[in-house]
């Protein structure tokens, strides 16, 4: 093999490993969302099932968490984008000697651990409340101890720095002559800002907003301190993991992954079309002719993938309405039942043998290993039992088996299995 080929193979292998490392966990997690097994797992594969999506959509904590995450995300976008924009404009106009000091100060929140920011936000606004003489029950006190308000402030304290970095990069390419030209033509400073600088910054504002929203949405370290009695998606998930996890989390992950891919493909497809239009305008490419595919898809793999993905999702949603894994589940449960039966037989047999042996030697020593086994399984079983999660209003998982298993009563209810 020539060395060029060797390098190519090595590179291919490297990429394969790299992408498995990067995407493998996501693929596995997505798969677990479709396994009826009550613990997120791929093997053993029980039944293909959509039930965890039902569980997810009926979980009030997660719904609330998503709602507050979005509310906080929007608040953080508004606050941090405006602060970041102001900071970046000041940065380009401060006296050069002070610039690096100012820059360090503005950038510092990125370097400070999120936990510290969270705690200090909490402490600072509590003190601020005390300073303004806000007493318990007053509006200010309520505001300064409101989880949503504090979380927006806490997150914005460092997300604004990220936004500023995006703006500074864009501003460095701004020709200040343009502002002067606007002033010279009679514009006020406000008009020059609104009509010249702001339109120039628009793409940066869009990307900073997306960045700020994502950073806010996935933030845990700061939020966990500032959220107080509210919940965001991340704090709900963290809580769930502590108490026991079930595949409804995987189904949420799957939805997020699909949405992300969707957005990325849509963006890419739109971009390619725009580039193509530009090229056509400059005479560097010819107008696409729509052959088998509609014209916006020809020569645009991203658009094709986008349409395929949309198709797959529609098919999935469609089948989810019809498909019922109950027969499969029953089989699996029967198999499990049989396995358990066998296990019990084995244990009984082992105990009988041991008892016989004991009887042969001494009569009153406790049989530690045999009692330990059921206890262990019980402990783990309880941790991962879906019943733990569905403490208040999780009607679906209980309801679904009831409907499906009506004829069999509750014998095959997974809850029975796990929690004995």
């Amino acid at each position: 093999m020539s060395s060029a080929n060797l390098i190519r193979v090595a590179l291919g292998a490297y990429l394969l490993i790299f992408f498995s490392y990067l995407l493998g966990p996501l693929v596995v997690m997505s798969l677990t969302a479709f396994n009826s097994s009550s613990f997120p797992t791929v093997s053993p594969w029980a039944c293909f099932s959509y039930e965890w999506f039902d569980v997810l959509f009926n979980d009030k904590h997660i719904r609330d968490g998503i709602y507050y995450s979005i509310v906080i995300g929007i608040g953080t976008v508004i606050l941090s984008v405006s602060m970041g924009l102001a900071a970046s404009i000041v940065l380009t106009q401060v006296w050069p000697k002070l610039r690096s000091t100012y820059y360090t100060m503005i950038i510092a929140p990125i370097l400070i651990p999120g936990v510290v920011l969270g705690i200090s936000t909490l402490v600072f606004w509590d003190r601020a409340g005390a300073f303004f003489g806000a007493t318990d029950g007053s509006f200010l006190y309520g505001l300064f101890h409101n989880g949503i308000f504090l979380t927006i402030l806490g997150q914005s304290s460092f997300i604004a720095s990220y936004a500023m970095l995006v703006f500074v990069a864009r501003l460095q390419r701004f020709d200040t002559d343009l502002t002067e030209a606007a002033l010279d033509l009679g514009a006020t400073h406000t008009q020059a800002f609104r009509k010249i600088l702001l339109p120039f910054m628009r793409p940066a504002i869009a990307s900073a907003s997306v960045l700020a929203f994502l950073a806010s949405f996935e933030n845990y370290n700061t939020t966990t301190f500032t959220i107080i009695d509210y919940k965001t998606l991340t704090t709900v998930l963290a809580q769930k993991v502590r108490l026991g996890i079930n595949p409804s989390i995987s189904s949420l992950a799957f939805i997020i992954i699909v949405l992300t891919i969707f957005a990325a493909l849509a963006f890419e497809a739109a971009n390619r079309n725009k580039e193509h239009k530009l090229a056509v305008k400059k005479g560097k490419a010819s107008e696409r002719k729509s052959g088998i595919l509609p014209s916006f898809m020809t020569g645009n793999p991203a658009a094709i993938l986008l349409v395929l993905l949309a198709f797959v999702v529609i098919v999935m949603v469609g089948t989810a309405q019809k498909y019922s894994p109950e027969t499969c589940k029953i089989e699996v449960r029967e198999a499990k039942q049989i396995a358990i039966q066998q296990r019990i037989e084995q244990l009984k047999e082992a105990r009988r043998l041991k008892d016989e042996a004991k009887a042969a030697t001494q009569s009153d020593a406790p049989a530690a290993p045999t009692t330990a086994a059921p206890k262990n399984s019980g402990a783990f079983g309880n941790v991962f039992a879906p019943t733990n999660l569905s403490d208040e209003d999780d009607a679906a998982p209980k309801a679904a088996p009831k409907d499906g298993n009506g004829a069999f009563g509750n014998v095959f209810d997974p809850n029975n299995l796990n929690s004995e």
Binding site: D175, E180, A182, L185, K195
Partner: protein, 370 residues
């Protein structure tokens, strides 16, 4: 159309920290004039223009536009419009929106703006191109859009900061004529900045020649070329041969200078320095290449130079003959091409003569660096 408003700079000094960019400039520009500031790069031309347009306040002195003191009046309140060195067209706006920007900020309706923009587009011969983006125009077209945008604001004074420097030679020459025509048509005062003496001389009613923040001479292009008042102006504007020496005698406005290498030469004292030049002073005498010609054998030695030929170049309409000069500088003679094969041979010792009225003498000073 406004009929032109006068601009006066009174004792303008502009400092940046310890650095003085403009020193004690006094200029008075007549209404409706095409006035140029000419000087090498970095001499403070843009700085003066920024003081006129209001982007910076002079450290000392006053700017008067139409007799009104402009102190404390911002750029958006002055009756000036500036055409930037890099044009500064708004890249995200269409051409017509660019042109009518001054109306937009004044609150005019879109229909009014479009109408005026289309009129101006017709004037600059870009009719029908209003919906393009500036990036879709050529250099010369952008140039004209910038002019139209400035004119749309109905300024009393149009300020132009080296507007042609980005264009290629052909277009530059074409735009010179065009600018001058536009100025005549609209009749407003143009203040034009350039480091290109050709531009300044062809377009301007009056030219101020600047050197390192100081204005050396203000006059018509013709007078600046013929009667430079300082060695800097003489060497910066057009080509010139310099002869250094000491003043031997003065009679009226004529002086005899004992030059370092060509003996005693007769010349006229440049008008601005008559009375300033004394016998025995260090002096510089300048003769333009086109004022030199081959001398007949009986020529007057007071207006004759002899030197060895170094090189000869054929330039189409003329021959340039380079001869050994004084202080490492060459003497250049320009001879019109009237069908000769050549003028001289390398190494040949030539005698050249000139009219004393075509040679100017002035006190020695700093020359423009080439």
């Amino acid at each position: 159309m406004s009929s032109g408003v006068a601009v006066d700079l009174e004792n303008i000094t502009i400092r940046f920290g310890d650095f003085t960019a403009v020193r004690d400039a006094n200029v008075s520009i007549n209404g409706g004039d095409f006035f140029s500031f000419l000087g090498p790069s970095g001499c403070g031309k843009t700085t003066i223009l920024r003081a006129v347009s209001g982007f910076l306040e002079p450290s000392e002195g006053r700017v008067l536009i139409g007799g009104n003191d402009m102190a404390g009046i911002g750029p958006n309140k002055r009756p000036t419009a500036l055409i930037f060195q890099n044009l500064a067209l708004f890249p995200l706006m269409k051409v017509w929106e660019n042109i009518s920007f001054s109306m937009e900020v004044a609150g005019a309706s879109a229909a009014e703006r479009r109408k005026r923009a289309d009129e101006l587009l017709d004037m600059i011969a870009l009719g029908g191109q209003g919906d393009k983006l500036p990036s879709e125009l050529s250099g010369g077209q952008k140039q004209r859009v910038a002019i139209a945008r400035a004119l749309c604001a109905n300024p009393d004074v149009l300020l132009l900061d080296e507007p042609l420097s980005a264009l290629d030679l052909k277009l530059r020459q074409h735009m010179r004529t065009e600018l001058r025509e536009i100025q005549k048509r609209v009749g407003i005062t143009f203040i034009y900045i350039t480091h290109d003496q050709g531009e300044a001389l062809t377009m301007s009613d009056n030219v101020a020649v600047m050197k390192a923040g100081v204005i050396d001479q203000i006059d018509t292009g013709h007078n600046i070329y013929d009667d430079p008042s300082t060695p800097f102006v003489a060497s910066f504007v057009g080509e010139n041969n310099v002869f250094r020496g000491k003043v031997k005698s003065i009679s009226g406005n004529e002086a005899v200078v004992t030059t370092n290498r060509s003996g005693d030469l007769l010349s006229r004292i440049t008008p601005a320095q008559v009375g300033n030049l004394k016998v025995g002073d260090d002096a510089m005498m300048f003769i333009r290449p086109e004022a030199l010609e081959l001398a007949p054998t009986d020529a007057d030695s007071k207006t004759t130079i002899t030197a060895n030929v170094i090189n000869e170049e054929f330039e189409g309409n003329s021959f340039s003959v380079f001869l050994e000069g004084d202080g490492g500088k060459m003497i250049k003679m320009s001879v019109p091409n009237l069908g000769q094969d050549h003028i001289s041979a390398r190494g040949e010792n030539l005698s050249l003569r000139y009219d004393a009225s075509n040679a100017v003498t002035m006190p020695a000073g700093e020359l423009a660096s080439e």
